[in-house]
Symmetry: C2
């Protein structure tokens, strides 16, 4: 397998179309500013000439570096933590869909899909000789960056609102990041991070400005294709917050189709929380995105001001897909169903795509003969408070066997029948 990597031919502003040579633009478009997020371009002819599906089939690489020929990094600056190549599980009849597949991205180093992006960001930072990495976050992106930076000995500066949940701050601190608790909102933390990054020249890990991070996220699509023997699914359900994951998901499927590794791009269904749906509104209205006040327990997709909405909606439209929303109650129910029927433990944002699929099946927009993939983007261990809301209650018993017998008889009478495999039932 070719491991040279870095077949990047240039960068193109996805707003105005201006092109840049590799290395010419550090982050966003000079003309369009923060609104001009760049696309990374490759020499696909060259990639196609030197890299075949058979090379992948023979690869023993247990990370997403197996896709190096299609990534903007070189083999000599890869971080050590193992990102990607996560399992794709069959749903075993769940929702009466025989060809349902669930991508468990909690099995990444810091337990979320964000590690795919971070690993590429840190590889770029190492290649560019960065002295430190930085960002603003209270969630998965922050802990992911802190973890990868720790492993590479890169100082990490992270800006969080002072009222961020203590466990998330603890994870950042355990990874040795310098954590600034900013007296203000998340937006205040974001602004202060931008100023400090400018002032100190730290490497910026934000999908909002850094074009290379989406190149890490796209590998989730490459893996789904490879794990399905290079047959792309019919539909893929994706949780949507700031739009970066969806942007990457589209790019991955589009590039494998471009290379001829698959024969189509799946229909992409973006799922937002009802309480935070600015990308759905922009998609449906075909207007500019209007920020909203985020109100959902799915904190990892609670992006009221999504920065990558333009790239996300472009991808969905190109795929022939659509946007939908689900309620917080539907998200909690999805956590319980996923856990009980598949053994996959999701945080709220991680269960959101499955909640969307559940709703789509109920509405009759998914048919039984379709192959459907669902992204599970983060571990339920990151938010056990929400898990407790989803989980129901234990059966309280005394110390004697007769208590257990009585409880089981009562449960059997209530249920009518024993629980069956993949029945989609709740968690209690």
């Amino acid at each position: 397998m070719a491991l040279a990597g870095a077949r990047v031919s240039g960068l193109r502003c996805m707003k105005c179309g201006r092109e840049y040579a590799p290395g010419e633009a550090a982050y966003t478009c000079d003309d369009c500013g923060l609104d001009g997020i760049l696309d990374v371009l490759y020499d696909y002819d060259e990639v196609r000439r030197t890299w075949r599906r058979e090379d992948l089939a023979a690869s023993r690489e247990s990370s997403h570096w197996r896709y190096l020929p299609l990534m903007p990094v070189s083999a000599d600056s890869l971080p050590s933590l193992r990102a990607g190549w996560t399992p794709l599980y069959n749903g075993r009849g769940l929702l009466d869909l025989p060809n349902l597949w669930i991508k468990d991205d909690s099995l990444n180093p810091t337990a979320s899909l964000k590690d795919r992006a971070t690993s590429v960001g840190v590889a770029r930072a190492l290649a560019e000789g960065a002295t430190a990495v930085a960002g603003a976050s209270t969630g998965n992106a922050g802990s992911s960056l802190a973890g990868f930076a720790a492993a590479e000995g890169l100082p990490c500066y992270m800006f969080v609102p002072a009222d961020a949940p203590r466990p998330k701050i603890a994870q950042l601190l355990v990874y040795g990041a310098t954590v600034f608790a900013v007296d203000g909102s998340y937006d205040d933390a974001f602004d202060l991070a931008a100023q400090a990054i400018e002032r100190y020249g730290w490497y910026n890990r934000s999908c909002a400005v850094n074009p290379y991070l989406v190149e890490g996220k796209k590998t989730v699509s490459l893996e789904i294709c490879e794990q399905l023997d290079f047959v792309a699914p019919d539909k893929v359900f994706v949780p949507v917050g700031d739009g970066c994951i969806m942007s990457g998901v589209y790019k991955g499927f589009a590039e494998f189709a471009e290379l001829g590794f698959t024969d189509r791009v799946p229909e992409l269904i973006g799922v937002q929380a009802e309480g935070c749906d600015p990308i759905k509104v922009a998609f449906d209205s075909e207007c500019e995105m209007v920020p909203c006040e985020a109100c959902t327990l799915a904190d990892s997709i609670a992006a009221g001001h999504p920065r990558n909405w333009r790239k996300a909606t472009r991808g969905i439209r190109a795929s022939g897909g659509s946007m939908m929303t689900v309620s917080d109650d539907e998200i909690l129910a999805a956590i319980a169903t996923l856990g009980a029927a598949t053994g996959i433990f999701a945080e709220p944002a991680g269960a959101t795509a499955f909640a969307g699929l559940t709703k789509a099946v109920a509405e009759g927009t998914v048919s039984r003969d379709e192959t459907v993939a669902v992204l599970m983007t983060g571990s339920g261990l990151k938010d056990t408070a929400s898990a407790m809301k989803a989980a129901g209650e234990p059966v309280t018993v005394g110390r004697s066997l007769s208590d257990v017998e009585a409880a089981l008889e009562e449960a059997a009478a209530d249920a009518g029948a024993p629980r069956r495999k993949a029945d989609g039932g709740g968690g209690a």
Copy 2:
């Protein structure tokens, strides 16, 4: 690669030596009762004849089923969740040991090493046509069993003390287990589980009685050997609670040496918490184990009455190894050091082996030219309360860049120099 599996030739009581044919004994020795835990025996000549290192080198299997010829299960009854084949990271100069390797077993389906054992237990349960699985637990073993059972559609009954931490109960419930909250201690829950298992004929997932679970745990050693190109380390540090992990670790190294895949068994160093060290006491005194009152924050190894102490001490002795203890403060410091220097986030029990190594290096019992492996057995996300104790505090700032500048100048003055790669410093 031969995938027939199930080359089990018999079982032998590790106390009295009585042998059983495969399938003859369900759990422990008929003569010795609960004290007579069985060893699983294989036809090593047959394994050696049909399975070579080259077969492994060519294997693309991304789970511990790559070792099927040396496991008590067949390819036709394997559970779907992906256990094992976790990364082995180089410590990059940490503790001034160039050949330090850390096995990150948090990257298992339910985020702990226990999944290795559970996957084998559930495979046996499926092969034996069990209608349900059960156990007593408040921690990793319980959530592991519940997760694997959910994925296979097997009902799971779990007994926990009523005052068990809510997040751990929530995880069990999300996985759809029937959770009995027993009005009593963990020992009460254990006793009630045993009675109910007897009464209902559920499959028993307890390393204390089920001989096959250790066969899953041993794969962590097989992986370490393979990942080090079939050169066994000089020393391996292992956290010790009930003794099951150590029993498996020894068996894995011994079997690869027996097969000629490696040329020796490493010196095994068992590490217990100072507040719960009955196996260390038994090992040092060469007497029977005397149960103690467990008092340590490392809950996953807080086994005051360890059931597998005999097998564990036998393995350590056969390896030429030893037992040691560390304090809770040393465990917390190890969490911070591991996180900040390697990007690995450990729960207290998961950091205990590294705490032991740190102490051993300070005492001069590990030398710089030795190859040392350390087991990290569970994710820090399982116990963020302890992480918060280990993590230090963030830097509080206002919303202006001058606040950040002032804070960084102060930190630089305090530290004297910037943080360096793998310096072993704390997490703050």
